[in-house]
Structures are given as C-alpha cells and as structure tokens.
C-alpha cells in the first residue's frame, strides 16, 4: 500500500476482539512494508495488538488514550508531531489508529470539530488516520463519523448509512468560549501594540495578587499573539478585556477586520505554512481558546489561562 496524502477513515466495530485482531493484521502488514504504526486505543485493544504484533519495532508506537485525547489541540499536536518525526526517521507513511472517548457531554462538540479538522489540516501528510467507532456510540457521533471520514466496516459490521465524507468542514466548528458575565478588571479599546496589552495584563495580575508567575507568563504570550493577529489582520487596532478569578486569567481580544474564514485555524500545525503559527502556539499555551466571529463584525478571540 502507498500513501502520498491523508486518508481519514472510520472503522466501525461491535466486537473488541474482532477489531483488535483486524488492527493487529493491519499493523503487521504496515510494519512489514516499512511503514510506521501509531496506536492509541483502549488498553484491551492495545494489549491484544501488542501481543500479536510484538513490541520490538521502533516504528510501532503506542500511546495512552488519556495522554493523547486530553484536548483536541493536544491530540492534534501529538498526532502531527509523532507523524512528522516518524516520517523524518524514514518511514514512508504512518498508519495511526485511535479511538476518542465520546462521553455524550459538552466536550463531544469539540471532538467532532477535531475530527472534521483532521481531514483538512493534515491532508498533505502521508498518513492513514483510522478512527475507531463502537457501533453503540450515540447516533450523533456515528453520523459525524460518516460525515468526516471514509467508512470501513469491521468484521460483520456494515456501514450504518452511506458515507457523506467530503474532506470539508461539514459544518463543525469549535465551541465558543464564554467570557465572565461581569465587568472586566481592565478594558482597553484602542490597542496599538502587544506591549500595551502585556502592561494591562501585568497591572491586573498585580492588583489581583493571586496570579502565579507561570500563569502570567503564559497569559502574556497568549495576549501578545492574539493582539498581534488583530493588529496585522484585523484592521490595525484591537480591543482588550481582562478578567481574573482565583488565580486564572481570561482575556478577550476583538478586532473589526474581515473576520477569520478558516474554521480550523487554531488546530492547523506549523511547518508547511508561513502564517498561522501564532494561533497554534496560543492554543497550546492557553488552557482554553476560541477564535470566531465577533458580533457586529470582525474576529473575537477568548482565552483562559490557568
């Protein structure tokens, strides 16, 4: 098998043992073909595959589900970094197999956005990204899987309905982060430099008195990158609002530019693009981030650092 660009597949299963054996067969074939395999599945599947495939090949990488799937940005970072490192080490392609733990809670929307993003932002990598879906998952999750992946049944399982996969956005967006519904500790409506934003942040943190230095350092980076984006792409000025509460900081940076067209901008890795690295960095550095339309026009970025 060859892969020169991304294949993003969903593999539906209803029997853990059957899917584990199928994954083991895939992994063995890929390793025999010098490709690398990245496995991030529930322990019961990982252990079965490891037993069947063996543990000695450096191109066979296993990852703990909790480590990989903490936040969408962490999952994207680990997938992109591990893949690019394995490719640098000589693998012709990487076959990644993982399973996101959808819970039925509010976090599911972010993971659906992540799945839609994988098809778009990693499309140039020689990567086969297989996502496992237990057929007992919620109808919403299964429908999303059909929309964002090419679908492969496992064993006796048939696709529940035809794939509508088109590599596109599919309408999935990052959840919008709320900012506190009270007056900010500081607000500045005509920022012209990132240094001004950092000075405001430092003053607010000093007043609050309980913001750890490490949190303030990260908040300085976050507000700098968001302000720089607003100044460069958002019409030359920005407005900033800052809240503190219990040692953490929330910032909101608005601009009145043309808005941000890329729904996956904050999940887009660096390396093959000349811009956008600031949002990638900001997303990793903040505890939570959303970037989207501002009511009335422009772009609104909200970030929490704790």
């Amino acid at each position: 098998m060859t892969a020169t660009a991304l294949r993003h597949e969903a593999l539906f299963y209803d029997d853990v043992d059957v899917v584990a054996e199928e994954i083991a067969a895939i992994a063995a074939a890929e390793l025999a073909d010098d490709a690398a395999v990245l496995l991030c599945t529930p322990p019961v599947i990982t252990e079965t595959v490891r037993t069947l495939v063996g543990d000695g090949d450096a191109r066979f990488v296993t990852m703990d589900v909790a480590d990989r799937y903490g936040r969408p940005i962490d999952a994207m970072g680990l997938l992109w970094r591990t893949t690019t490192n394995l490719l640098r080490d000589g693998a012709p392609r990487v076959h990644s197999i993982g399973e996101i733990a959808f819970t039925g809670g509010v976090a599911d929307a972010a993971w659906m956005w992540y799945e839609a993003a994988v098809s778009r932002v990693l499309r140039d990598l020689p990567l086969v990204a297989v996502c496992l879906y237990d057929t007992t998952s919620s109808p919403e999750v299964l429908a999303m899987a059909h929309e964002t992946h090419a679908v492969t049944p496992c064993g006796s399982v048939s696709p529940l309905f035809p794939s509508t996969h088109d590599d596109g956005n599919c309408g999935y967006h990052a959840p919008v982060l709320a900012f506190p519904a009270r007056h900010p500790a500081a607000r500045l409506d005509a920022l012209t430099s990132a240094a001004e934003a950092r000075a405001v942040l430092a003053a607010v943190a000093a007043d609050a008195g309980d913001v750890p230095a490490e949190v303030l350092d990260r908040a300085h980076l976050v507000v700098t990158e968001l302000t720089a984006n607003a100044l460069l792409h958002g019409g030359g000025s920005a407005s900033l609002a800052v809240w503190t509460d219990g040692g953490f900081i929330t910032v909101r940076v608005d601009d009145r530019g043309p808005g941000i067209a890329d729904a996956f901008a904050t999940l887009r890795p660096p390396g093959h693009i000349d811009h956008g690295r600031g949002l990638w960095l900001t997303h990793h550095t903040a505890s939570a981030l959303s970037v989207g339309p501002r009511p009335g026009g422009g772009t609104r970025a909200v970030a929490v650092v704790d």
Binding site: A194, A195, L221, A228, L232, P270, G271, G278, T285
Partner: protein, 254 residues
C-alpha cells in the same frame, strides 16, 4: 537637546561601546566632552571625530567598507599602547553614514564588528553619536538595538557582542513592534563562515513572541548554523518545541 546620554565608562577600555542620539551641536559637544574626559582619566588616548571628518575619511560617497575603520582603530590602539596609553577612547559623529536604510544596513554591520572588537578586549572605548534629525526614530531604534541598553532607549530590545562562553547578549522584549529592527540587527550579526553555533545570553530577555523565534530560525537556516538561547525560560523552550524549530535551541535558566 540630548535625548540619550550614557553613563561615562567606568570599567576601562575594552568594556565600553555606547550609543548617543543628540539634537543640536551643543548636545553633542557636551556629551562628547564628558565621554572623552572619562577616557582621559583612565589613561586612554582620546579622539574626537566630527561628522564631516568621519564622512570624508570613510564615507567614500556612500561606498563604506566596515572593515576599513575597524582596521584603523586596531592600528590606533597599538600605537597608543606603544606610546604608553591604556588604549583609545573615541567619540565619532557617524550621522552621515546612516542617512538611508541601505547605508544603515552597512553601518550596522560595522557596529557589530567594532562592538565585537571592543567586547573582546581590543583596548577601545567608543561613543557612536547620531544626529536624531538626520537618522529618524526608526533608524535610531535599529542602531540603538546594537548597543547595550541604557534607558531611555529607542529600541525595545538590544543585542550586542560578548565574551566567551556566549557570542552575544540580548535584552529587552522581542515582539511585533521590533520586527523590522530585528531584521536589520540579524542582518548585521552575520557570523564567520566557520561558526556552527551562535550562543546568545538571553537572561535579560523578558519576552519573546513566536515571530521573533521564527526569524531567528530563518537567520540560523540562512547561515547554516544553530542558535543557542542560554539562560532563557521554560516557556521559550516549549515555544521552540511547539513551533518545531530545528535550528534554535534553548538552555533554560535555573
């Protein structure tokens, strides 16, 4: 009016390279006299080079060779020491060398070369004086950035030469506001062809954004070397990692 007057050097020749931005002849004369008096007190031969003399000697109608005055200073230090002086203390009004951006780029290279000579014990103390009305605020920021920081400065950051074990010392804040200055400064810092790693003491750098790190990465790539940021923060190390920079390394301060 003098907009920036440095402290007179007190540590002797070999440690002083300073920048003066002045407005009006009186400001220049006053600062020059103070600087030269300090040099004389240290036992150095003092030299005052006014702008027309400097331009006539090295300007060559704009074809300035940065190595030429450097060689002259090396020669002057040797002569001074042979005559019993501790070294040479010079004040030079170099405003006419930096009237255009192109001239400024060439002169910035000279600034770095002479800075390196001074820092490595060359026996020279130098005050570079710029007429603010000729150079302009952007130009002052670029030139100020190549000198050690003395508030109130014109540049948001400073990078200057240093003794072993680092090649350069940086201070201040690197972000969007200093991007154009960083381009010119990096251009001036081009290392010797034999250098495979450039070590920068970043202990006094209070902030770095991702654009500045990417520019340093591109500088390193262009010159086929790696840049080691010594005494930097764990956040900078993490930024380098997240941005997948291959030619910038971080050594985190304790």
């Amino acid at each position: 009016m003098v907009t920036q007057v440095e402290e007179a050097p007190t540590a002797g020749a070999g440690t002083a390279h300073q920048c003066l931005a002045y407005e009006g002849k009186g400001g220049f004369d006053e600062a020059a006299a103070e600087y030269l008096a300090a040099g004389e007190a240290r036992g150095e031969r003092t030299v005052l080079i006014r702008r027309d003399v400097a331009w006539a000697q090295y300007g060559r109608d704009g074809n300035f060779d940065p190595c030429e005055p450097l060689a002259a200073y090396e020669h002057a230090v040797r002569d001074a020491r042979a005559d019993g002086y501790e070294g040479v203390c010079v004040v030079a009004d170099v405003s006419l060398f930096v009237a255009t951006q192109s001239q400024r780029r060439t002169f910035a290279r000279y600034e770095h070369l002479v800075d390196r000579f001074i820092r490595r014990g060359g026996g020279l103390a130098g005050l570079c004086a710029f007429d603010a009305t000729v150079v302009g605020e952007d130009g002052l920021a670029h030139l100020d950035a190549l000198h050690p920081h003395h508030p109130p400065g014109h540049a948001p950051f400073h990078i200057h030469a240093a003794d072993h074990p680092v090649d350069l010392v940086a201070s201040g804040e690197l972000d969007l506001a200093g991007r154009a200055t960083l381009v010119e400064v990096l251009d001036a810092l081009a290392p010797d062809a034999s250098t495979d790693e450039l070590a920068i003491d970043a202990a006094a750098v209070h902030f770095v954004d991702h654009r500045s790190l990417v520019m340093i990465e591109e500088f390193a790539e262009h010159h086929g070397l790696t840049v080691l940021l010594r005494h930097t923060t764990d956040l900078v190390r993490r930024m380098i990692d997240l941005l997948d920079l291959r030619r910038v390394r971080a050594e985190v301060r304790a």
